[in-house]
Amino acid sequence: MSPPLQASSRAFARGLFGAALILLAWEFAARGLELPHYILPAVSTILAHMASDASSLLSAGRYTFIEAATGFAIGGLAGIASAVLVSMVPASRGVVLPIATAINSVPVVAYSPLVLLWFGIGMSSKIVMVAIAVSFTVFLNTIAGLDRVDRRQAELMRSFGASRFAVFWRLRLPTALPLILAGLRISTVRSIIVAIVTEMLGAYDGLGWIIYQAVLRIDFVAVWAAIAVASLISLGFFALVSMVERKAVFWT
Protein backbone atom coordinates (compact mmCIF):
# COMPACT_ATOMS: atom_id res chain seq x y z
CA MET A 1 0.00 0.00 0.00
CA SER A 2 1.21 3.43 -0.79
CA PRO A 3 0.09 5.68 2.10
CA PRO A 4 2.21 3.96 4.74
CA LEU A 5 5.09 3.93 2.32
CA GLN A 6 4.66 7.62 1.69
CA ALA A 7 4.46 8.23 5.41
CA SER A 8 7.67 6.36 6.04
CA SER A 9 9.55 8.07 3.24
CA ARG A 10 8.43 11.40 4.59
CA ALA A 11 9.55 10.33 8.04
CA PHE A 12 12.85 9.36 6.51
CA ALA A 13 13.20 12.72 4.86
CA ARG A 14 12.41 14.51 8.10
CA GLY A 15 14.85 12.32 9.94
CA LEU A 16 17.53 13.25 7.44
CA PHE A 17 16.59 16.86 7.82
CA GLY A 18 16.86 16.65 11.60
CA ALA A 19 20.21 14.94 11.31
CA ALA A 20 21.45 17.49 8.82
CA LEU A 21 20.39 20.27 11.16
CA ILE A 22 22.35 18.85 14.05
CA LEU A 23 25.37 18.02 11.93
CA LEU A 24 25.46 21.54 10.52
CA ALA A 25 25.24 23.04 13.97
CA TRP A 26 28.04 20.74 15.04
CA GLU A 27 30.18 21.66 12.06
CA PHE A 28 29.75 25.37 12.69
CA ALA A 29 30.35 25.01 16.40
CA ALA A 30 33.53 23.02 15.89
CA ARG A 31 34.85 25.31 13.19
CA GLY A 32 33.53 28.55 14.60
CA LEU A 33 34.83 28.00 18.10
CA GLU A 34 37.98 26.43 16.70
CA LEU A 35 37.55 23.46 18.99
CA PRO A 36 40.59 21.20 18.96
CA HIS A 37 40.09 17.61 17.85
CA TYR A 38 40.45 16.28 21.32
CA ILE A 39 37.42 18.22 22.40
CA LEU A 40 35.19 17.97 19.34
CA PRO A 41 36.36 17.42 15.77
CA ALA A 42 34.31 18.97 12.98
CA VAL A 43 31.89 16.75 11.09
CA SER A 44 33.76 17.26 7.86
CA THR A 45 36.98 16.09 9.49
CA ILE A 46 35.25 12.96 10.71
CA LEU A 47 33.69 12.32 7.32
CA ALA A 48 37.02 12.74 5.62
CA HIS A 49 38.56 10.26 8.02
CA MET A 50 35.69 7.84 7.39
CA ALA A 51 36.26 8.07 3.68
CA SER A 52 39.98 7.55 3.93
CA ASP A 53 39.61 4.67 6.33
CA ALA A 54 36.45 3.23 4.79
CA SER A 55 37.58 -0.30 4.18
CA SER A 56 38.90 -0.99 7.69
CA LEU A 57 35.91 0.74 9.29
CA LEU A 58 33.51 -1.28 7.18
CA SER A 59 35.16 -4.58 7.96
CA ALA A 60 35.27 -3.71 11.66
CA GLY A 61 31.63 -2.66 11.47
CA ARG A 62 30.72 -5.95 9.89
CA TYR A 63 32.58 -7.84 12.59
CA THR A 64 30.83 -5.91 15.36
CA PHE A 65 27.46 -6.27 13.73
CA ILE A 66 27.86 -10.03 13.44
CA GLU A 67 28.64 -10.20 17.15
CA ALA A 68 25.77 -7.90 18.05
CA ALA A 69 23.23 -9.60 15.83
CA THR A 70 24.16 -13.07 16.99
CA GLY A 71 24.06 -12.02 20.63
CA PHE A 72 20.82 -10.18 19.95
CA ALA A 73 19.23 -13.30 18.51
CA ILE A 74 20.42 -15.51 21.32
CA GLY A 75 19.59 -12.99 24.02
CA GLY A 76 16.21 -12.20 22.48
CA LEU A 77 15.26 -15.85 22.34
CA ALA A 78 16.58 -16.48 25.84
CA GLY A 79 14.71 -13.47 27.17
CA ILE A 80 11.45 -14.49 25.57
CA ALA A 81 11.91 -18.12 26.57
CA SER A 82 12.60 -17.34 30.20
CA ALA A 83 9.67 -14.92 30.32
CA VAL A 84 7.46 -17.65 28.89
CA LEU A 85 8.77 -20.08 31.46
CA VAL A 86 8.10 -17.64 34.27
CA SER A 87 4.61 -16.91 33.06
CA MET A 88 3.79 -20.59 32.54
CA VAL A 89 5.25 -21.65 35.88
CA PRO A 90 4.28 -18.83 38.23
CA ALA A 91 6.21 -20.43 41.09
CA SER A 92 9.44 -19.81 39.21
CA ARG A 93 8.84 -16.07 39.15
CA GLY A 94 10.03 -15.51 42.70
CA VAL A 95 13.33 -17.18 41.85
CA VAL A 96 14.00 -16.12 38.27
CA LEU A 97 13.09 -12.46 38.56
CA PRO A 98 15.46 -11.58 41.42
CA ILE A 99 18.31 -13.49 39.82
CA ALA A 100 17.73 -11.80 36.50
CA THR A 101 17.52 -8.42 38.22
CA ALA A 102 20.66 -9.13 40.17
CA ILE A 103 22.58 -10.09 37.06
CA ASN A 104 21.34 -7.07 35.22
CA SER A 105 22.04 -4.59 38.01
CA VAL A 106 25.71 -4.95 37.41
CA PRO A 107 27.13 -3.31 34.32
CA VAL A 108 27.80 -5.92 31.70
CA VAL A 109 31.33 -4.60 31.55
CA ALA A 110 31.82 -5.87 35.07
CA TYR A 111 31.31 -9.37 33.82
CA SER A 112 33.67 -8.79 30.97
CA PRO A 113 36.80 -10.03 32.77
CA LEU A 114 34.91 -13.14 33.76
CA VAL A 115 33.29 -13.59 30.37
CA LEU A 116 36.58 -12.97 28.60
CA LEU A 117 38.12 -15.51 30.93
CA TRP A 118 35.41 -18.06 30.28
CA PHE A 119 34.84 -17.47 26.58
CA GLY A 120 38.10 -16.08 25.34
CA ILE A 121 38.93 -12.88 23.57
CA GLY A 122 37.24 -13.73 20.25
CA MET A 123 33.69 -13.23 19.07
CA SER A 124 32.05 -15.61 21.49
CA SER A 125 32.72 -13.46 24.55
CA LYS A 126 31.09 -10.46 22.83
CA ILE A 127 28.15 -12.58 21.80
CA VAL A 128 27.69 -13.74 25.37
CA MET A 129 27.86 -10.21 26.71
CA VAL A 130 25.35 -8.93 24.17
CA ALA A 131 23.09 -11.87 24.90
CA ILE A 132 23.17 -11.10 28.63
CA ALA A 133 22.33 -7.46 28.05
CA VAL A 134 19.59 -8.12 25.51
CA SER A 135 17.96 -10.97 27.34
CA PHE A 136 17.08 -8.94 30.40
CA THR A 137 15.45 -6.11 28.49
CA VAL A 138 13.47 -8.54 26.41
CA PHE A 139 12.67 -10.67 29.44
CA LEU A 140 11.22 -7.74 31.36
CA ASN A 141 9.19 -6.46 28.47
CA THR A 142 7.93 -9.91 27.58
CA ILE A 143 6.86 -10.67 31.12
CA ALA A 144 5.05 -7.36 31.33
CA GLY A 145 3.39 -8.04 28.01
CA LEU A 146 2.30 -11.53 28.97
CA ASP A 147 0.92 -10.21 32.24
CA ARG A 148 -1.03 -7.55 30.43
CA VAL A 149 -3.55 -9.98 29.10
CA ASP A 150 -7.22 -9.24 29.82
CA ARG A 151 -8.25 -11.74 32.45
CA ARG A 152 -11.71 -12.14 30.98
CA GLN A 153 -10.35 -12.87 27.56
CA ALA A 154 -8.16 -15.60 29.02
CA GLU A 155 -11.15 -16.95 30.91
CA LEU A 156 -13.21 -17.09 27.78
CA MET A 157 -10.51 -19.11 26.05
CA ARG A 158 -10.34 -21.43 29.00
CA SER A 159 -14.09 -21.92 28.79
CA PHE A 160 -13.46 -23.15 25.27
CA GLY A 161 -11.30 -25.81 26.86
CA ALA A 162 -8.08 -24.10 25.86
CA SER A 163 -4.96 -25.54 27.39
CA ARG A 164 -2.45 -23.21 29.03
CA PHE A 165 -0.46 -23.52 25.85
CA ALA A 166 -3.40 -22.56 23.66
CA VAL A 167 -4.17 -19.54 25.83
CA PHE A 168 -0.52 -18.64 25.64
CA TRP A 169 -0.20 -19.03 21.92
CA ARG A 170 -3.47 -17.48 20.84
CA LEU A 171 -3.92 -14.81 23.46
CA ARG A 172 -0.98 -14.03 25.70
CA LEU A 173 1.64 -13.92 23.00
CA PRO A 174 -0.30 -11.64 20.65
CA THR A 175 -1.16 -9.41 23.60
CA ALA A 176 2.49 -9.28 24.59
CA LEU A 177 3.77 -8.78 21.08
CA PRO A 178 3.85 -4.97 21.11
CA LEU A 179 5.92 -4.94 24.29
CA ILE A 180 8.16 -7.80 23.19
CA LEU A 181 8.96 -5.96 20.02
CA ALA A 182 9.53 -2.74 21.90
CA GLY A 183 12.02 -4.61 24.05
CA LEU A 184 13.74 -5.97 20.98
CA ARG A 185 13.79 -2.53 19.44
CA ILE A 186 15.47 -0.98 22.45
CA SER A 187 17.88 -3.89 22.47
CA THR A 188 19.14 -3.37 18.94
CA VAL A 189 20.98 -0.27 19.97
CA ARG A 190 22.21 -1.76 23.20
CA SER A 191 23.49 -4.86 21.48
CA ILE A 192 25.82 -2.81 19.30
CA ILE A 193 27.07 -0.77 22.19
CA VAL A 194 27.69 -3.77 24.41
CA ALA A 195 29.61 -5.46 21.62
CA ILE A 196 31.73 -2.34 21.24
CA VAL A 197 32.35 -1.88 24.92
CA THR A 198 33.39 -5.50 25.29
CA GLU A 199 35.66 -5.20 22.33
CA MET A 200 37.32 -2.28 24.02
CA LEU A 201 38.39 -4.61 26.80
CA GLY A 202 39.97 -7.15 24.55
CA ALA A 203 39.35 -8.21 20.98
CA TYR A 204 40.94 -9.08 17.66
CA ASP A 205 38.76 -6.85 15.57
CA GLY A 206 35.64 -4.71 15.57
CA LEU A 207 34.72 -1.08 16.09
CA GLY A 208 35.40 -1.29 19.82
CA TRP A 209 38.88 -2.48 19.12
CA ILE A 210 39.42 0.42 16.73
CA ILE A 211 38.06 2.85 19.30
CA TYR A 212 40.21 1.42 22.06
CA GLN A 213 43.37 1.75 20.06
CA ALA A 214 42.43 5.16 18.76
CA VAL A 215 41.79 6.46 22.27
CA LEU A 216 45.23 5.34 23.33
CA ARG A 217 46.74 6.85 20.24
CA ILE A 218 44.85 10.00 21.21
CA ASP A 219 43.30 9.90 17.76
CA PHE A 220 39.86 11.28 18.48
CA VAL A 221 38.91 11.72 14.88
CA ALA A 222 39.27 7.97 14.47
CA VAL A 223 37.15 7.43 17.58
CA TRP A 224 34.39 9.61 16.21
CA ALA A 225 34.59 7.94 12.84
CA ALA A 226 34.18 4.50 14.40
CA ILE A 227 31.28 5.76 16.48
CA ALA A 228 29.65 7.24 13.42
CA VAL A 229 29.85 3.84 11.77
CA ALA A 230 28.41 2.24 14.91
CA SER A 231 25.55 4.75 14.87
CA LEU A 232 24.73 4.06 11.26
CA ILE A 233 24.70 0.33 11.90
CA SER A 234 22.54 0.82 14.97
CA LEU A 235 20.10 2.99 13.08
CA GLY A 236 19.80 0.37 10.38
CA PHE A 237 19.36 -2.39 12.92
CA PHE A 238 16.75 -0.34 14.76
CA ALA A 239 14.89 0.42 11.54
CA LEU A 240 14.92 -3.24 10.57
CA VAL A 241 13.34 -4.34 13.83
CA SER A 242 10.87 -1.42 13.69
CA MET A 243 9.80 -2.63 10.27
CA VAL A 244 9.23 -6.14 11.55
CA GLU A 245 7.31 -4.59 14.43
CA ARG A 246 5.01 -2.63 12.16
CA LYS A 247 4.27 -5.76 10.18
CA ALA A 248 3.69 -7.91 13.24
CA VAL A 249 1.65 -5.51 15.35
CA PHE A 250 -0.70 -4.35 12.63
CA TRP A 251 -3.81 -3.98 14.75
CA THR A 252 -2.81 -1.07 16.97
Binding site: P36, H37, Y38, I39, S112, P113, L116, L117, G120, I121, M200, L201, G202, A203, Y204, W209, Q213, V215, L216, R217, I218, D219, F220
Partner: protein
Protein backbone atom coordinates in the same frame (compact mmCIF):
# COMPACT_ATOMS: atom_id res chain seq x y z
CA UNK B 1 58.79 25.94 50.90
CA UNK B 2 59.51 28.38 48.12
CA UNK B 3 56.23 30.21 48.34
CA UNK B 4 55.06 32.07 51.37
CA UNK B 5 52.53 29.88 53.10
CA UNK B 6 50.65 32.99 54.19
CA UNK B 7 49.43 33.32 50.63
CA UNK B 8 46.17 31.76 49.57
CA UNK B 9 47.11 28.24 48.35
CA UNK B 10 46.80 27.73 44.62
CA UNK B 11 44.26 25.04 43.76
CA UNK B 12 45.61 22.35 41.47
CA UNK B 13 44.94 18.76 40.64
CA UNK B 14 46.99 15.75 39.72
CA UNK B 15 45.40 13.21 37.42
CA UNK B 16 46.91 9.78 37.87
CA UNK B 17 47.21 7.23 35.10
CA UNK B 18 45.43 4.61 37.14
CA UNK B 19 43.47 3.90 40.30
CA UNK B 20 45.07 4.59 43.66
CA UNK B 21 47.76 2.02 44.35
CA UNK B 22 51.38 1.92 45.51
CA UNK B 23 52.47 2.91 42.02
CA UNK B 24 51.55 6.43 43.17
CA UNK B 25 52.54 6.12 46.81
CA UNK B 26 54.86 9.15 46.72
CA UNK B 27 52.12 11.55 45.67
CA UNK B 28 49.73 10.34 48.35
CA UNK B 29 52.50 10.51 50.95
CA UNK B 30 53.32 14.08 49.98
CA UNK B 31 49.68 15.00 50.15
CA UNK B 32 49.22 13.39 53.53
CA UNK B 33 52.31 15.00 54.94
CA UNK B 34 51.26 18.42 53.71
CA UNK B 35 54.22 18.92 51.36
CA UNK B 36 52.01 20.41 48.65
CA UNK B 37 50.45 22.73 51.17
CA UNK B 38 53.89 23.86 52.17
CA UNK B 39 54.45 24.79 48.54
CA UNK B 40 51.24 26.78 48.56
CA UNK B 41 49.37 24.24 46.50
CA UNK B 42 45.93 22.94 47.41
CA UNK B 43 46.27 19.69 45.54
CA UNK B 44 43.57 17.21 44.69
CA UNK B 45 44.62 13.80 43.48
CA UNK B 46 42.22 12.47 40.88
CA UNK B 47 42.50 8.80 40.08
CA UNK B 48 42.79 7.65 36.50
CA UNK B 49 41.31 4.57 34.94
CA UNK B 50 41.15 2.53 31.80
CA UNK B 51 38.84 4.91 30.00
CA UNK B 52 40.23 8.31 30.64
CA UNK B 53 43.19 9.86 29.07
CA UNK B 54 45.42 11.92 31.33
CA UNK B 55 46.95 13.85 28.41
CA UNK B 56 43.55 14.97 27.28
CA UNK B 57 42.49 16.20 30.68
CA UNK B 58 45.70 18.12 31.21
CA UNK B 59 45.63 19.57 27.71
CA UNK B 60 42.10 20.86 28.18
CA UNK B 61 42.87 22.29 31.59
CA UNK B 62 40.53 19.93 33.45
CA UNK B 63 43.53 18.86 35.49
CA UNK B 64 46.70 20.81 36.25
CA UNK B 65 49.16 17.96 36.41
CA UNK B 66 49.11 14.46 35.10
CA UNK B 67 50.97 11.28 35.68
CA UNK B 68 50.38 9.96 32.21
CA UNK B 69 51.01 6.72 30.35
CA UNK B 70 54.61 7.28 29.43
CA UNK B 71 56.98 8.61 26.85
CA UNK B 72 54.91 6.92 24.15
CA UNK B 73 51.71 8.71 25.12
CA UNK B 74 53.56 12.02 25.34
CA UNK B 75 54.76 11.50 21.77
CA UNK B 76 51.31 10.58 20.62
CA UNK B 77 49.78 13.60 22.34
CA UNK B 78 52.31 15.95 20.81
CA UNK B 79 51.82 14.24 17.47
CA UNK B 80 48.08 15.04 17.71
CA UNK B 81 48.79 18.62 18.69
CA UNK B 82 47.86 18.41 22.36
CA UNK B 83 49.64 21.25 24.14
CA UNK B 84 51.22 19.23 26.92
CA UNK B 85 54.80 19.05 28.12
CA UNK B 86 56.52 16.32 30.04
CA UNK B 87 58.26 17.71 33.11
CA UNK B 88 59.59 14.47 34.52
CA UNK B 89 59.80 10.77 33.91
CA UNK B 90 59.03 8.41 36.76
CA UNK B 91 59.94 4.95 35.46
CA UNK B 92 63.38 5.21 34.00
CA UNK B 93 63.22 1.82 32.30
CA UNK B 94 60.55 -0.25 30.65
CA UNK B 95 58.12 -1.18 33.40
CA UNK B 96 56.89 -4.29 31.66
CA UNK B 97 58.51 -7.58 30.86
CA UNK B 98 57.59 -10.62 28.84
CA UNK B 99 56.94 -13.72 30.85
CA UNK B 100 56.95 -17.39 29.99
CA UNK B 101 56.76 -20.59 31.97
CA UNK B 102 60.10 -21.42 33.60
CA UNK B 103 60.02 -24.99 32.38
CA UNK B 104 58.42 -24.06 29.06
CA UNK B 105 59.82 -24.35 25.56
CA UNK B 106 60.57 -20.65 25.28
CA UNK B 107 64.07 -20.03 26.47
CA UNK B 108 65.20 -17.25 24.17
CA UNK B 109 63.55 -14.55 22.15
CA UNK B 110 64.27 -16.69 19.09
CA UNK B 111 61.94 -19.27 20.59
CA UNK B 112 59.02 -16.80 20.27
CA UNK B 113 58.78 -17.93 16.68
CA UNK B 114 55.80 -20.19 16.17
CA UNK B 115 54.48 -19.42 19.63
CA UNK B 116 51.46 -17.53 20.87
CA UNK B 117 52.47 -14.25 22.40
CA UNK B 118 49.93 -11.88 23.93
CA UNK B 119 50.65 -8.25 24.48
CA UNK B 120 48.93 -4.88 24.82
CA UNK B 121 48.53 -3.22 21.48
CA UNK B 122 49.09 0.15 23.08
CA UNK B 123 52.87 0.42 22.90
CA UNK B 124 54.00 -2.84 24.36
CA UNK B 125 53.52 -4.48 20.96
CA UNK B 126 56.14 -2.16 19.48
CA UNK B 127 58.57 -3.02 22.22
CA UNK B 128 57.99 -6.66 21.43
CA UNK B 129 58.43 -6.09 17.73
CA UNK B 130 61.66 -4.20 18.34
CA UNK B 131 62.94 -6.98 20.57
CA UNK B 132 62.13 -9.56 17.94
CA UNK B 133 63.77 -7.46 15.26
CA UNK B 134 66.80 -6.97 17.49
CA UNK B 135 67.10 -10.74 17.83
CA UNK B 136 66.51 -11.33 14.13
CA UNK B 137 63.17 -13.05 14.51
CA UNK B 138 60.76 -12.74 11.57
CA UNK B 139 57.66 -10.99 12.89
CA UNK B 140 55.45 -13.08 10.65
CA UNK B 141 56.37 -16.25 12.52
CA UNK B 142 55.09 -15.01 15.85
CA UNK B 143 51.39 -15.36 16.63
CA UNK B 144 50.96 -11.99 18.32
CA UNK B 145 47.55 -11.52 19.99
CA UNK B 146 45.88 -8.86 22.05
CA UNK B 147 46.20 -9.49 25.75
CA UNK B 148 43.13 -9.20 27.91
CA UNK B 149 42.95 -8.03 31.49
CA UNK B 150 43.33 -11.45 33.00
CA UNK B 151 46.57 -13.41 33.25
CA UNK B 152 44.68 -16.65 33.69
CA UNK B 153 45.05 -17.77 30.04
CA UNK B 154 48.81 -17.49 30.49
CA UNK B 155 48.78 -19.19 33.87
CA UNK B 156 46.70 -21.97 32.33
CA UNK B 157 49.23 -22.46 29.58
CA UNK B 158 46.94 -21.35 26.79
CA UNK B 159 49.44 -18.67 25.92
CA UNK B 160 53.17 -19.20 25.63
CA UNK B 161 54.39 -15.69 26.30
CA UNK B 162 52.50 -12.84 27.94
CA UNK B 163 53.24 -9.25 28.82
CA UNK B 164 53.34 -8.16 32.46
CA UNK B 165 53.93 -4.92 34.27
CA UNK B 166 56.55 -5.57 36.88
CA UNK B 167 54.33 -4.24 39.63
CA UNK B 168 50.95 -5.77 38.70
CA UNK B 169 50.74 -8.76 36.39
CA UNK B 170 54.11 -10.07 37.42
CA UNK B 171 52.89 -10.24 40.99
CA UNK B 172 49.84 -12.20 39.89
CA UNK B 173 51.93 -14.57 37.83
CA UNK B 174 54.49 -15.00 40.57
CA UNK B 175 51.93 -15.76 43.21
CA UNK B 176 50.07 -18.21 41.01
CA UNK B 177 52.97 -20.01 39.39
CA UNK B 178 55.73 -19.31 41.90
CA UNK B 179 58.38 -16.75 41.01
CA UNK B 180 60.90 -19.51 40.41
CA UNK B 181 58.70 -20.99 37.68
CA UNK B 182 58.56 -17.81 35.64
CA UNK B 183 61.11 -16.79 33.06
CA UNK B 184 61.39 -13.09 32.26
CA UNK B 185 62.47 -11.30 29.11
CA UNK B 186 63.46 -7.73 29.97
CA UNK B 187 63.29 -5.31 27.00
CA UNK B 188 66.45 -3.50 28.06
CA UNK B 189 68.33 -6.79 27.60
CA UNK B 190 67.42 -6.69 23.92
CA UNK B 191 68.25 -3.12 23.17
CA UNK B 192 64.82 -1.62 23.74
CA UNK B 193 63.86 0.85 26.44
CA UNK B 194 60.55 2.50 27.05
CA UNK B 195 60.50 4.87 30.02
CA UNK B 196 56.94 5.33 31.24
CA UNK B 197 54.82 7.07 33.85
CA UNK B 198 55.48 10.64 32.77
CA UNK B 199 54.59 13.79 34.69
CA UNK B 200 52.93 16.30 32.40
CA UNK B 201 51.52 19.83 32.49
CA UNK B 202 50.00 22.01 29.84
CA UNK B 203 52.30 24.34 27.92
CA UNK B 204 50.38 27.23 29.34
CA UNK B 205 50.79 26.23 32.97
CA UNK B 206 54.48 25.75 32.48
CA UNK B 207 54.82 29.15 30.82
CA UNK B 208 52.51 31.08 33.16
CA UNK B 209 53.34 29.52 36.49
CA UNK B 210 56.73 27.82 36.54
CA UNK B 211 56.81 28.35 40.30
CA UNK B 212 53.72 26.21 40.70
CA UNK B 213 55.24 23.48 38.57
CA UNK B 214 58.50 23.54 40.47
CA UNK B 215 56.68 23.53 43.78
CA UNK B 216 54.63 20.57 42.70
CA UNK B 217 57.73 18.67 41.63
CA UNK B 218 59.56 19.53 44.83
CA UNK B 219 56.72 18.30 47.02
CA UNK B 220 56.22 15.17 44.94
CA UNK B 221 59.88 14.25 45.12
CA UNK B 222 59.83 14.71 48.89
CA UNK B 223 56.85 12.44 49.04
CA UNK B 224 58.57 9.75 47.05
CA UNK B 225 61.74 10.01 49.10
CA UNK B 226 59.66 9.54 52.23
CA UNK B 227 57.78 6.64 50.68
CA UNK B 228 60.97 4.84 49.80
CA UNK B 229 62.39 5.59 53.24
CA UNK B 230 59.32 4.34 55.05
CA UNK B 231 57.55 1.84 52.79
CA UNK B 232 55.25 0.63 55.57
CA UNK B 233 54.02 4.15 56.24
CA UNK B 234 53.49 4.75 52.53
CA UNK B 235 51.56 1.52 52.20
CA UNK B 236 49.42 2.54 55.18
CA UNK B 237 48.63 5.74 53.36
CA UNK B 238 47.63 3.88 50.21
CA UNK B 239 45.58 1.31 52.09
CA UNK B 240 43.66 4.13 53.74
CA UNK B 241 42.80 5.53 50.33
CA UNK B 242 41.84 2.14 48.84
CA UNK B 243 41.09 -0.33 51.63
CA UNK B 244 40.17 -3.26 49.40
CA UNK B 245 43.67 -3.54 47.98
CA UNK B 246 45.87 -6.51 48.79
CA UNK B 247 48.54 -5.24 51.15
CA UNK B 248 51.16 -7.82 50.19
CA UNK B 249 50.71 -6.88 46.56
CA UNK B 250 51.09 -3.20 47.37
CA UNK B 251 54.28 -3.83 49.25
CA UNK B 252 55.62 -5.73 46.26
CA UNK B 253 54.49 -2.94 44.00
CA UNK B 254 56.22 -0.20 45.96
CA UNK B 255 59.44 -2.15 45.87
CA UNK B 256 59.19 -2.70 42.11
CA UNK B 257 58.29 0.94 41.54
CA UNK B 258 61.27 1.97 43.60
CA UNK B 259 63.50 -0.04 41.32
CA UNK B 260 61.89 1.42 38.20
CA UNK B 261 62.14 4.97 39.49
CA UNK B 262 65.67 4.74 40.67
CA UNK B 263 67.08 2.87 37.67
CA UNK B 264 69.10 4.34 34.82
CA UNK B 265 69.55 8.07 34.66
CA UNK B 266 67.91 8.58 38.05
CA UNK B 267 71.13 7.33 39.60
CA UNK B 268 72.78 10.56 38.43
CA UNK B 269 69.97 13.02 37.96
CA UNK B 270 67.66 11.94 40.74
CA UNK B 271 63.97 11.18 40.70
CA UNK B 272 61.93 12.06 37.60
CA UNK B 273 65.07 12.54 35.58
CA UNK B 274 64.49 13.01 31.86
CA UNK B 275 66.98 10.89 29.92
CA UNK B 276 67.18 12.27 26.38
CA UNK B 277 68.90 9.15 25.12
CA UNK B 278 66.25 6.73 26.34
CA UNK B 279 63.51 9.03 25.10
CA UNK B 280 65.18 9.44 21.76
CA UNK B 281 65.48 5.72 21.20
CA UNK B 282 61.86 5.13 22.16
CA UNK B 283 60.85 7.93 19.82
CA UNK B 284 62.83 6.53 16.93
CA UNK B 285 61.25 3.15 17.48
CA UNK B 286 57.73 4.54 17.21
CA UNK B 287 58.64 6.54 14.14
CA UNK B 288 60.07 3.41 12.61
CA UNK B 289 56.87 1.47 13.23
CA UNK B 290 54.79 4.27 11.79
CA UNK B 291 52.97 4.94 15.04
CA UNK B 292 54.01 8.55 14.87
CA UNK B 293 53.05 10.28 11.65
CA UNK B 294 56.13 12.47 11.88
CA UNK B 295 59.05 12.95 14.24
CA UNK B 296 58.11 14.88 17.35
CA UNK B 297 60.02 17.93 18.52
CA UNK B 298 61.48 16.33 21.64
CA UNK B 299 62.87 19.57 23.04
CA UNK B 300 59.40 21.04 23.09
CA UNK B 301 57.81 17.86 24.36
CA UNK B 302 60.19 17.32 27.25
CA UNK B 303 61.11 20.22 29.43
CA UNK B 304 63.48 19.65 32.32
CA UNK B 305 63.58 23.32 33.33
CA UNK B 306 61.18 22.92 36.20
CA UNK B 307 63.04 19.90 37.44
CA UNK B 308 66.35 21.67 37.13
CA UNK B 309 64.98 24.55 39.17
CA UNK B 310 65.19 22.17 42.09
CA UNK B 311 68.67 21.67 43.47
CA UNK B 312 70.03 18.30 42.46
CA UNK B 313 70.63 17.28 46.05
CA UNK B 314 66.91 17.63 46.73
CA UNK B 315 66.13 15.27 43.86
CA UNK B 316 68.86 12.78 44.54
CA UNK B 317 68.05 9.34 45.77
Amino acid sequence: GGLASAQEPTPASLRLKWLPQAQFAGFYTALEKGYYEEEGIALTINPGGPNILTENLVATGADTFGLSGGTDSVFAARDRGLPIVCIGVAHQVTPFVFVTAGDGPVETVQDFAGKTVTTWFTGANHVLSAMLAHEGVDLGTVDMQPQQVSMTPFVDGEVDVATATRYNELYTVNTRLGAENVRLFVPEDFGVSFPRDTLIVSERTLADDPELVAGFLRASIRGWQDAFADPEGAIDTIMAVAPTLDRAHQEFMLEEVRELMTAGQAGEDGLFAIDPAAIGSAHDLLVEYGVLSAPVDLDAAFDASALEAIPLEDRAL
